[in-house]
Symmetry: C2
Subunit: 175 residues, 2 copies
Protein backbone atom coordinates (compact mmCIF):
# COMPACT_ATOMS: atom_id res chain seq x y z
CA UNK A 1 0.00 0.00 0.00
CA UNK A 2 1.15 3.64 0.35
CA UNK A 3 4.11 4.09 -1.99
CA UNK A 4 2.88 1.43 -4.42
CA UNK A 5 -0.59 3.06 -4.53
CA UNK A 6 0.89 6.47 -5.21
CA UNK A 7 3.09 5.06 -7.98
CA UNK A 8 0.10 3.40 -9.66
CA UNK A 9 -1.63 6.79 -9.90
CA UNK A 10 1.42 8.38 -11.49
CA UNK A 11 1.02 8.91 -15.26
CA UNK A 12 4.58 7.65 -15.78
CA UNK A 13 4.00 4.38 -13.94
CA UNK A 14 2.51 2.52 -16.91
CA UNK A 15 5.35 3.71 -19.11
CA UNK A 16 7.91 2.59 -16.54
CA UNK A 17 6.47 -0.90 -16.10
CA UNK A 18 6.28 -1.40 -19.88
CA UNK A 19 9.98 -0.62 -20.23
CA UNK A 20 11.16 -2.37 -17.09
CA UNK A 21 9.67 -5.75 -17.98
CA UNK A 22 9.38 -8.66 -15.60
CA UNK A 23 12.09 -7.71 -13.10
CA UNK A 24 10.45 -4.31 -12.47
CA UNK A 25 13.73 -2.44 -12.94
CA UNK A 26 15.39 -0.74 -15.89
CA UNK A 27 18.88 -1.74 -17.01
CA UNK A 28 21.16 0.07 -19.49
CA UNK A 29 19.84 -1.74 -22.59
CA UNK A 30 16.23 -1.01 -21.62
CA UNK A 31 17.06 2.63 -20.93
CA UNK A 32 18.79 3.01 -24.30
CA UNK A 33 15.82 1.47 -26.12
CA UNK A 34 13.35 3.68 -24.25
CA UNK A 35 15.25 6.91 -24.86
CA UNK A 36 15.66 6.07 -28.55
CA UNK A 37 12.05 4.99 -29.13
CA UNK A 38 10.56 7.89 -27.17
CA UNK A 39 12.35 10.28 -29.52
CA UNK A 40 13.93 12.01 -26.55
CA UNK A 41 17.19 12.72 -28.37
CA UNK A 42 15.19 14.18 -31.27
CA UNK A 43 17.51 15.41 -34.00
CA UNK A 44 20.57 14.47 -31.96
CA UNK A 45 22.22 11.03 -32.18
CA UNK A 46 20.82 8.35 -29.87
CA UNK A 47 22.59 7.75 -26.58
CA UNK A 48 25.37 5.18 -26.57
CA UNK A 49 25.06 2.21 -24.25
CA UNK A 50 27.98 3.60 -22.28
CA UNK A 51 26.17 6.88 -21.60
CA UNK A 52 23.12 4.89 -20.48
CA UNK A 53 25.28 2.88 -18.11
CA UNK A 54 26.70 5.96 -16.42
CA UNK A 55 23.22 7.49 -16.18
CA UNK A 56 22.14 4.45 -14.20
CA UNK A 57 25.38 4.37 -12.18
CA UNK A 58 24.75 7.99 -11.13
CA UNK A 59 21.43 7.12 -9.49
CA UNK A 60 22.18 3.57 -8.49
CA UNK A 61 22.67 4.02 -4.78
CA UNK A 62 22.02 0.37 -3.97
CA UNK A 63 24.51 -0.80 -6.66
CA UNK A 64 22.15 -3.14 -8.48
CA UNK A 65 23.02 -1.72 -11.91
CA UNK A 66 19.32 -1.09 -12.48
CA UNK A 67 16.78 1.67 -11.88
CA UNK A 68 13.55 1.57 -9.94
CA UNK A 69 10.61 3.90 -10.56
CA UNK A 70 11.75 6.82 -8.40
CA UNK A 71 15.24 6.75 -9.89
CA UNK A 72 13.68 6.65 -13.37
CA UNK A 73 11.64 9.77 -12.66
CA UNK A 74 14.68 11.50 -11.17
CA UNK A 75 16.66 10.69 -14.32
CA UNK A 76 13.93 12.06 -16.61
CA UNK A 77 13.87 15.32 -14.69
CA UNK A 78 17.65 15.62 -14.96
CA UNK A 79 17.64 14.68 -18.66
CA UNK A 80 15.01 17.27 -19.50
CA UNK A 81 17.07 19.91 -17.70
CA UNK A 82 20.24 18.98 -19.57
CA UNK A 83 18.45 18.96 -22.90
CA UNK A 84 17.02 22.45 -22.36
CA UNK A 85 20.39 23.57 -21.13
CA UNK A 86 22.11 22.12 -24.21
CA UNK A 87 19.74 23.85 -26.63
CA UNK A 88 19.97 27.12 -24.73
CA UNK A 89 23.77 27.25 -24.67
CA UNK A 90 24.19 26.14 -28.26
CA UNK A 91 23.96 29.79 -29.15
CA UNK A 92 25.27 29.52 -32.70
CA UNK A 93 22.82 26.62 -33.37
CA UNK A 94 25.65 24.39 -34.53
CA UNK A 95 23.99 21.35 -32.91
CA UNK A 96 26.93 21.06 -30.54
CA UNK A 97 28.52 22.89 -27.65
CA UNK A 98 31.82 24.61 -28.27
CA UNK A 99 34.41 25.98 -25.82
CA UNK A 100 32.78 29.30 -24.86
CA UNK A 101 29.35 27.76 -24.74
CA UNK A 102 30.62 25.01 -22.41
CA UNK A 103 32.12 27.52 -19.99
CA UNK A 104 28.75 29.24 -19.77
CA UNK A 105 26.81 25.98 -19.44
CA UNK A 106 29.00 24.75 -16.58
CA UNK A 107 28.62 28.07 -14.77
CA UNK A 108 24.87 28.07 -15.34
CA UNK A 109 24.61 24.62 -13.76
CA UNK A 110 26.16 26.17 -10.67
CA UNK A 111 29.55 24.44 -10.72
CA UNK A 112 32.38 26.65 -9.55
CA UNK A 113 35.34 25.23 -11.42
CA UNK A 114 38.44 26.85 -12.84
CA UNK A 115 39.01 27.51 -16.57
CA UNK A 116 41.73 24.84 -16.36
CA UNK A 117 39.21 22.26 -15.15
CA UNK A 118 36.73 23.29 -17.88
CA UNK A 119 39.53 22.79 -20.42
CA UNK A 120 40.27 19.32 -19.09
CA UNK A 121 36.58 18.44 -19.40
CA UNK A 122 36.34 19.77 -22.96
CA UNK A 123 39.48 17.86 -23.98
CA UNK A 124 37.88 14.66 -22.74
CA UNK A 125 34.43 15.09 -24.29
CA UNK A 126 34.95 16.95 -27.56
CA UNK A 127 35.02 15.47 -31.05
CA UNK A 128 36.83 17.84 -33.37
CA UNK A 129 36.28 20.72 -30.97
CA UNK A 130 32.55 20.05 -30.63
CA UNK A 131 30.67 18.44 -27.74
CA UNK A 132 27.64 16.52 -29.00
CA UNK A 133 24.48 15.87 -27.00
CA UNK A 134 25.34 12.28 -26.03
CA UNK A 135 28.76 13.28 -24.71
CA UNK A 136 27.32 16.40 -23.11
CA UNK A 137 24.90 14.28 -21.09
CA UNK A 138 27.65 11.80 -20.15
CA UNK A 139 29.70 14.77 -19.00
CA UNK A 140 26.81 16.30 -16.98
CA UNK A 141 26.05 12.96 -15.34
CA UNK A 142 29.66 12.48 -14.29
CA UNK A 143 30.07 16.04 -13.11
CA UNK A 144 26.93 15.78 -11.01
CA UNK A 145 27.77 12.37 -9.56
CA UNK A 146 31.34 13.32 -8.71
CA UNK A 147 30.23 16.63 -7.18
CA UNK A 148 27.56 14.80 -5.14
CA UNK A 149 30.12 12.27 -3.91
CA UNK A 150 32.45 15.10 -2.99
CA UNK A 151 29.80 17.16 -1.18
CA UNK A 152 28.51 14.17 0.75
CA UNK A 153 32.02 13.83 2.23
CA UNK A 154 32.61 17.57 2.67
CA UNK A 155 30.33 17.70 5.71
CA UNK A 156 31.96 20.84 7.08
CA UNK A 157 31.71 22.55 3.66
CA UNK A 158 35.39 23.36 3.63
CA UNK A 159 35.76 22.85 -0.11
CA UNK A 160 38.23 20.02 0.36
CA UNK A 161 37.91 16.34 1.22
CA UNK A 162 40.42 13.80 2.46
CA UNK A 163 40.00 10.56 0.54
CA UNK A 164 41.50 7.22 1.61
CA UNK A 165 42.70 5.44 -1.57
CA UNK A 166 39.96 2.79 -1.53
CA UNK A 167 37.17 5.33 -1.16
CA UNK A 168 38.70 7.50 -3.92
CA UNK A 169 38.76 4.53 -6.32
CA UNK A 170 35.27 3.39 -5.40
CA UNK A 171 33.60 6.75 -5.90
CA UNK A 172 35.45 7.59 -9.13
CA UNK A 173 35.52 4.16 -10.84
CA UNK A 174 31.81 3.53 -10.28
CA UNK A 175 30.87 6.37 -12.65
CA UNK B 1 69.18 15.78 -33.45
CA UNK B 2 69.47 13.45 -30.44
CA UNK B 3 65.93 12.37 -29.58
CA UNK B 4 64.78 12.65 -33.20
CA UNK B 5 67.75 10.55 -34.36
CA UNK B 6 67.00 7.86 -31.78
CA UNK B 7 63.34 7.83 -32.76
CA UNK B 8 64.20 7.42 -36.44
CA UNK B 9 66.17 4.26 -35.62
CA UNK B 10 63.27 2.80 -33.67
CA UNK B 11 61.42 0.08 -35.60
CA UNK B 12 58.09 1.58 -34.48
CA UNK B 13 58.89 5.05 -35.81
CA UNK B 14 57.78 4.38 -39.38
CA UNK B 15 54.58 2.83 -38.13
CA UNK B 16 53.92 5.79 -35.85
CA UNK B 17 54.46 8.42 -38.55
CA UNK B 18 52.21 6.54 -40.99
CA UNK B 19 49.35 6.58 -38.47
CA UNK B 20 49.94 10.07 -37.11
CA UNK B 21 49.77 11.81 -40.49
CA UNK B 22 50.71 15.41 -41.08
CA UNK B 23 50.40 16.76 -37.53
CA UNK B 24 52.82 14.14 -36.19
CA UNK B 25 50.48 13.15 -33.38
CA UNK B 26 47.83 10.48 -32.95
CA UNK B 27 44.26 11.39 -32.02
CA UNK B 28 41.46 9.06 -30.92
CA UNK B 29 40.17 8.33 -34.44
CA UNK B 30 43.68 7.52 -35.67
CA UNK B 31 44.31 5.29 -32.66
CA UNK B 32 41.06 3.40 -33.20
CA UNK B 33 41.86 2.84 -36.88
CA UNK B 34 45.38 1.67 -36.08
CA UNK B 35 44.32 -0.76 -33.33
CA UNK B 36 41.59 -2.19 -35.55
CA UNK B 37 43.74 -2.53 -38.68
CA UNK B 38 46.74 -3.96 -36.83
CA UNK B 39 44.51 -6.79 -35.59
CA UNK B 40 45.50 -6.01 -32.02
CA UNK B 41 42.09 -6.90 -30.61
CA UNK B 42 42.21 -10.19 -32.51
CA UNK B 43 39.08 -12.23 -31.87
CA UNK B 44 37.75 -9.59 -29.48
CA UNK B 45 35.55 -6.68 -30.62
CA UNK B 46 37.39 -3.56 -31.81
CA UNK B 47 37.91 -0.75 -29.33
CA UNK B 48 35.18 1.89 -29.15
CA UNK B 49 36.12 5.48 -29.84
CA UNK B 50 35.41 6.24 -26.20
CA UNK B 51 37.96 3.69 -25.00
CA UNK B 52 40.50 5.18 -27.42
CA UNK B 53 39.82 8.63 -26.02
CA UNK B 54 40.46 7.56 -22.44
CA UNK B 55 43.64 5.73 -23.51
CA UNK B 56 44.92 9.00 -24.90
CA UNK B 57 43.66 10.99 -21.90
CA UNK B 58 45.64 8.69 -19.58
CA UNK B 59 48.94 9.57 -21.25
CA UNK B 60 48.13 13.08 -22.37
CA UNK B 61 50.10 15.03 -19.79
CA UNK B 62 50.22 18.18 -21.92
CA UNK B 63 46.42 18.07 -22.52
CA UNK B 64 46.59 18.26 -26.31
CA UNK B 65 44.19 15.33 -26.74
CA UNK B 66 46.80 13.65 -28.94
CA UNK B 67 49.74 11.29 -28.53
CA UNK B 68 53.36 11.79 -29.50
CA UNK B 69 55.78 8.94 -30.24
CA UNK B 70 56.87 8.21 -26.68
CA UNK B 71 53.30 8.19 -25.40
CA UNK B 72 52.37 5.87 -28.27
CA UNK B 73 55.09 3.39 -27.29
CA UNK B 74 54.07 3.62 -23.64
CA UNK B 75 50.48 2.85 -24.61
CA UNK B 76 51.50 -0.18 -26.67
CA UNK B 77 53.46 -1.59 -23.76
CA UNK B 78 50.50 -1.11 -21.42
CA UNK B 79 48.05 -2.57 -23.97
CA UNK B 80 50.15 -5.68 -24.48
CA UNK B 81 50.27 -6.17 -20.71
CA UNK B 82 46.51 -5.84 -20.35
CA UNK B 83 45.87 -8.20 -23.24
CA UNK B 84 48.10 -10.92 -21.73
CA UNK B 85 46.52 -10.28 -18.39
CA UNK B 86 43.01 -10.57 -19.86
CA UNK B 87 43.77 -13.88 -21.57
CA UNK B 88 45.49 -15.25 -18.49
CA UNK B 89 42.66 -14.43 -16.09
CA UNK B 90 39.92 -15.59 -18.43
CA UNK B 91 40.40 -19.01 -16.91
CA UNK B 92 37.21 -20.57 -18.19
CA UNK B 93 38.01 -19.30 -21.73
CA UNK B 94 34.62 -17.58 -21.97
CA UNK B 95 36.17 -14.66 -23.88
CA UNK B 96 35.28 -12.37 -21.00
CA UNK B 97 36.22 -11.72 -17.40
CA UNK B 98 33.72 -12.65 -14.73
CA UNK B 99 33.54 -11.68 -11.05
CA UNK B 100 36.14 -14.06 -9.56
CA UNK B 101 38.48 -13.56 -12.48
CA UNK B 102 38.27 -9.78 -12.06
CA UNK B 103 39.16 -9.95 -8.38
CA UNK B 104 42.27 -11.94 -9.29
CA UNK B 105 43.19 -9.66 -12.21
CA UNK B 106 42.96 -6.51 -10.08
CA UNK B 107 45.10 -8.10 -7.36
CA UNK B 108 47.63 -9.32 -9.93
CA UNK B 109 47.97 -5.76 -11.27
CA UNK B 110 49.01 -4.79 -7.75
CA UNK B 111 46.00 -2.68 -6.76
CA UNK B 112 45.04 -3.05 -3.12
CA UNK B 113 41.34 -2.38 -3.19
CA UNK B 114 38.47 -3.76 -1.12
CA UNK B 115 35.96 -6.35 -2.39
CA UNK B 116 33.38 -3.53 -2.20
CA UNK B 117 35.43 -1.39 -4.61
CA UNK B 118 35.93 -4.36 -6.96
CA UNK B 119 32.15 -4.85 -6.93
CA UNK B 120 31.57 -1.21 -7.81
CA UNK B 121 33.99 -1.55 -10.75
CA UNK B 122 32.34 -4.73 -12.01
CA UNK B 123 28.89 -3.14 -11.78
CA UNK B 124 30.13 -0.31 -13.96
CA UNK B 125 31.92 -2.33 -16.64
CA UNK B 126 29.98 -5.59 -16.97
CA UNK B 127 27.49 -6.49 -19.69
CA UNK B 128 25.25 -9.29 -18.43
CA UNK B 129 27.79 -10.22 -15.78
CA UNK B 130 30.69 -10.36 -18.25
CA UNK B 131 33.49 -7.85 -18.78
CA UNK B 132 34.60 -7.80 -22.42
CA UNK B 133 38.07 -6.83 -23.62
CA UNK B 134 37.16 -3.29 -24.71
CA UNK B 135 35.58 -2.48 -21.34
CA UNK B 136 38.37 -4.29 -19.51
CA UNK B 137 40.95 -2.02 -21.14
CA UNK B 138 38.85 1.10 -20.43
CA UNK B 139 38.67 -0.05 -16.82
CA UNK B 140 42.44 -0.72 -16.58
CA UNK B 141 43.23 2.66 -18.13
CA UNK B 142 41.00 4.48 -15.66
CA UNK B 143 42.23 2.52 -12.67
CA UNK B 144 45.82 3.24 -13.61
CA UNK B 145 45.27 6.92 -14.33
CA UNK B 146 43.26 7.51 -11.15
CA UNK B 147 45.80 5.60 -9.05
CA UNK B 148 48.65 7.60 -10.64
CA UNK B 149 46.85 10.87 -9.91
CA UNK B 150 46.29 9.77 -6.34
CA UNK B 151 49.88 8.61 -5.74
CA UNK B 152 51.33 11.78 -7.26
CA UNK B 153 49.46 13.73 -4.55
CA UNK B 154 50.14 11.25 -1.74
CA UNK B 155 53.75 12.39 -1.41
CA UNK B 156 54.07 11.15 2.17
CA UNK B 157 52.58 7.77 1.17
CA UNK B 158 49.94 7.96 3.84
CA UNK B 159 47.30 6.23 1.77
CA UNK B 160 45.02 9.27 1.84
CA UNK B 161 44.93 12.55 -0.07
CA UNK B 162 43.18 15.83 0.61
CA UNK B 163 41.59 17.12 -2.59
CA UNK B 164 40.30 20.65 -3.07
CA UNK B 165 37.07 20.44 -5.13
CA UNK B 166 38.57 21.89 -8.31
CA UNK B 167 41.52 19.48 -8.29
CA UNK B 168 39.20 16.54 -7.59
CA UNK B 169 37.01 17.45 -10.56
CA UNK B 170 39.97 18.06 -12.86
CA UNK B 171 41.71 14.79 -12.16
CA UNK B 172 38.56 12.66 -12.29
CA UNK B 173 36.68 14.34 -15.18
CA UNK B 174 39.69 14.26 -17.50
CA UNK B 175 39.63 10.46 -17.63
CA1 LIG C 1 27.32 25.54 -30.71
CA1 LIG D 1 47.37 13.16 -36.24
CA1 LIG E 1 35.88 -15.84 -18.24
Amino acid sequence: YGAQQLAANDPMWGYFTAIAGQDGEIDAEELQRCLTQSGFTGGYSPFSLDTCRIMIAMLDRDFTGKMGFNEFKELFTALNGWKQNFMMFDQDRSGSIEHNEMTQAVNAMGYRISPQAVNAIIKRYNKGGRIFFDDYVACCVKLRALSDNFKRRDTMQQGSVTFPYDDFIMCTMAI
